[in-house]
């Protein structure tokens, strides 16, 4: 084990996979000499050359679209989109192209591209940089949507993503890039998709979260513990595929649930989680499931982003209500 930040875990995993497989390459904006705006590829171009770590023209659709073609040629591309908000400028290459190639070709072709994209608020970034738009990609058959919250999970899930024949949207919590540290296995380490992780044990209520909201849930659980409420924190880790059986198990044990995410409430992925809970564990429920999300407004300018992003107080009061419901 080595203690690493999130960004260090991601960088070392990319390097490990490049060393493992000569087909792996990375393309994106500013990823060469600069090493990416968050340094996820720092030093890699110097080590592996300009054909493996490729600085691309500033055009997201052609980054994803050419990654599709590179994959068809037999290579294994990792495409970095500088911020997830800009993936919307590649949406027509991700959704109707990358995600459908296997289906369209009836299995003749697969496009195992990994798209890495940081997202999430609280870092005082300009417009579009913070937008949590993961649910725009979870209703896309053929696309796996993965959102780690810890350095170890980042390594395990990114390894799986890169080795997968399927396209993966790998969303990284940019606020946690340097703030979140943890022990990361040194050896080859992969985590299967579709398995949630219990981040904190608890018996009164289950808090579901992913990406940066996991740390928020953990802080809320800490605060709730001081008032005698035992909150379990569950990190879903992959939204597609979803750990349906795991959700049933944890909710059956606590009987109460709160779903937390940074995206606006309406049609956020929380709606899918709540639906799954009522399908799978309705008769275990002792209270309506609550959602804590951003309001249905665009991500605001930085002066009021604290009002927009769910915080500990909002989670704590939602949990109090769910726990006190008869």
């Amino acid at each position: 084990m080595t203690t690493m930040t999130m960004i260090e875990a991601i960088r070392s995993t990319i390097r490990q996979e490049i060393l493992r497989d000569e087909k792996v390459m990375v393309l994106g904006q500013d990823i060469g000499k600069l090493g990416g705006v968050f340094r996820a590829t720092e030093g890699l171009q110097a080590e592996f050359g300009e054909d493996r770590i490729v600085d691309m023209p500033l055009a997201e659709a052609s980054i994803v679209g050419s990654a599709v073609g590179l994959s068809l040629s037999g290579l294994n591309p990792i495409a970095e989109i500088q911020f997830l908000g800009f993936a919307q400028q590649a949406y027509h290459q991700i959704v109707p192209q990358l995600a459908r190639f296997r289906f369209r070709s009836q299995g003749r072709y697969s496009t195992g591209v990994t798209i890495r994209a940081p997202f999430g608020g609280g870092v005082r970034a300009p417009e579009l940089h913070s937008d949590a738009i993961e649910s725009q990609f979870t209703s896309v058959p053929g696309l796996q949507v993965v959102l780690p919250s810890t350095p170890a999970d980042a390594k395990g899930l990114l390894t799986t993503a890169i080795r997968s024949e399927d396209p993966v949207l790998f969303c990284e919590p940019l606020k946690g890039y340097r703030l979140v540290k943890g022990d990361v296995p040194d050896d080859d380490y992969s985590i299967p998709f579709g398995e949630l992780r219990i981040a904190r044990e608890g018996t009164d209520v289950t808090l579901f979260a992913w990406s940066a909201a996991v740390q928020l849930a953990e802080k809320a659980a800490e605060s709730l513990a001081s008032e005698g409420i035992s909150a379990q924190v569950v990190d879903l880790r992959t939204l597609v595929p979803l750990d349906v059986d795991g959700i049933r198990e944890v909710v059956s044990a606590t009987g109460r649930a709160v779903v937390i995410h940074e995206a606006p409430l309406t049609s956020g992925y929380g709606a899918e989680v709540v639906s799954t809970i009522q399908e799978e564990a309705f008769y275990s429920l002792e209270a309506p499931v609550a959602r804590v999300a951003a309001p249905d407004v665009p991500y605001p300018n930085i002066g009021i982003e604290e009002v927009f992003i769910p915080n500990v107080d909002r989670v704590v009061s939602a949990v109090r209500e769910v726990v006190s419901a008869e």
């Binding site: 052609s62 679209g65 599709v68 073609g69 290459q93 109707p96 369209r104 009836q106 003749r108 072709y109």
Partner: protein, 348 residues
């Protein structure tokens, strides 16, 4: 930009151009062009009889499609199609029934056979172009000898993907040929509404991509341009944009009604420039073909189309299982349950 022309509408050769194709190659190309025309006719009637879905005919563009494909070696080169390139795909190894079964609604039967270097049709115009660039770039990175030819139209060239792809291909010096078939129409929108540029070929210069403007109804000029472009790609000199000026003599597809928008005078002018008769005139002038030999070609083509349609008629819908089989490499628990519910009516 000077438009390259070799084979005049009357079948004579302009200037001092040498023969681009041998007599045998020309005869072979003519047979492919006539086959394409025959398939178009038959596919339209199949659609009208309810035996097939939507179909987009090649009619009028046979020299453009066949001529460009002659520059490709199907054993190493790739075609990334739009949807109006049937004779090129046949030369590359697809079967008529395989191609038509896609439009009949069966993607399983239309699966591109292993080893055939063709991507499946996709319907979002120009979205195939970055795939072609990435594929070509990837082949080059791996030392593969292949080049990629991709097709686009005058309408599709207004999409952002066209511009991003030319730009990236130029930067990466990707071994790709963009064959832009300017057929005058994007469904009902005339070429004049797509761009204020004099030619589509002129767009290459802004991206550092060499461009060629060619009479798209001239089999020889198209072939020569494509050979030059493929040769450039394979010698590491990068991409080429070819504007092939042709004309869609038929409808956009079986659902279209061109009588609402096509000027009949303009269409008559283009019918005079039909790419097929000029090849026949060329061959006749050299005593390289007789009426009886043309009849033989037509009979062979007719038999081949009849064979393909017989097979097509036996192809029903794909099996219901295929709805679930190729979404991902492994089926999620959730999808497996959905499949079981739908296929077996089983409760979860």
């Amino acid at each position: 930009m000077l438009r390259r022309e070799i084979l005049r509408p009357d079948g004579s050769i302009s200037g001092d151009s040498g023969p681009v194709l041998s007599i045998q190659e020309t005869l072979d190309a003519l047979e492919r062009m006539l086959l394409s025309k025959r398939i178009d006719e038959r596919a339209f009637s199949l659609q009208r009889q309810g035996r097939m879905g939507t179909y987009s005919a090649v009619r009028g563009q046979e020299a453009s499609v066949v001529g460009s494909s002659l520059a490709l070696d199907p054993s190493v080169d790739w075609i990334v199609p739009q949807y109006r390139e049937l004779p090129a795909l046949l030369r590359h190894g697809l079967s008529i029934e395989g191609f038509l079964s896609y439009w009949k609604g069966n993607s399983e039967a239309a699966r591109i056979p292993d080893g055939v270097k063709v991507l499946p049709p996709q319907i979002g115009l120009a979205a195939q172009l970055p795939h072609a660039v990435g594929l070509a770039w990837g082949l080059q990175l791996q030392g593969d000898p292949g080049a990629v030819m991709t097709f686009i139209g005058d309408g599709g060239s207004s999409e952002g993907d066209f511009h991003e792809s030319l730009n990236l291909a130029g930067v990466m010096k990707a071994p790709v040929v963009f064959l832009l078939q300017n057929n005058g129409w994007a469904i009902s929108t005339p070429r004049s509404k797509q761009s204020a540029a004099d030619t589509f070929a002129s767009r290459g210069e802004g991206y550092g991509v060499p461009s060629i403007l060619v009479d798209g109804n001239d089999l020889f000029a198209v072939s020569a341009a494509a050979r030059e472009a493929v040769g450039r790609a394979k010698s590491g000199e990068g991409p080429t944009l070819i504007e092939s000026q042709t004309y869609r003599l038929g409808a956009h597809n079986t659902a279209d009604d061109p009588s609402k928008y096509v000027d009949s005078g303009e269409k008559l002018q283009w019918e005079e420039l039909d790419p097929i008769p000029r090849v026949i005139s060329y061959l006749r002038a050299r005593d390289a073909i007789t009426d009886a030999e043309i009849d033989d070609i037509e009979a062979r083509n007719e038999a081949e189309v009849a064979r393909a349609v017989d097979v097509l008629d036996t192809i029903g819908p794909a099996s219901a299982e295929t709805l679930f089989d190729h979404v991902s490499s492994t089926m999620s628990i959730r999808l497996r349950r959905q499949r079981d519910q739908i296929l077996k009516g089983a409760s979860r």
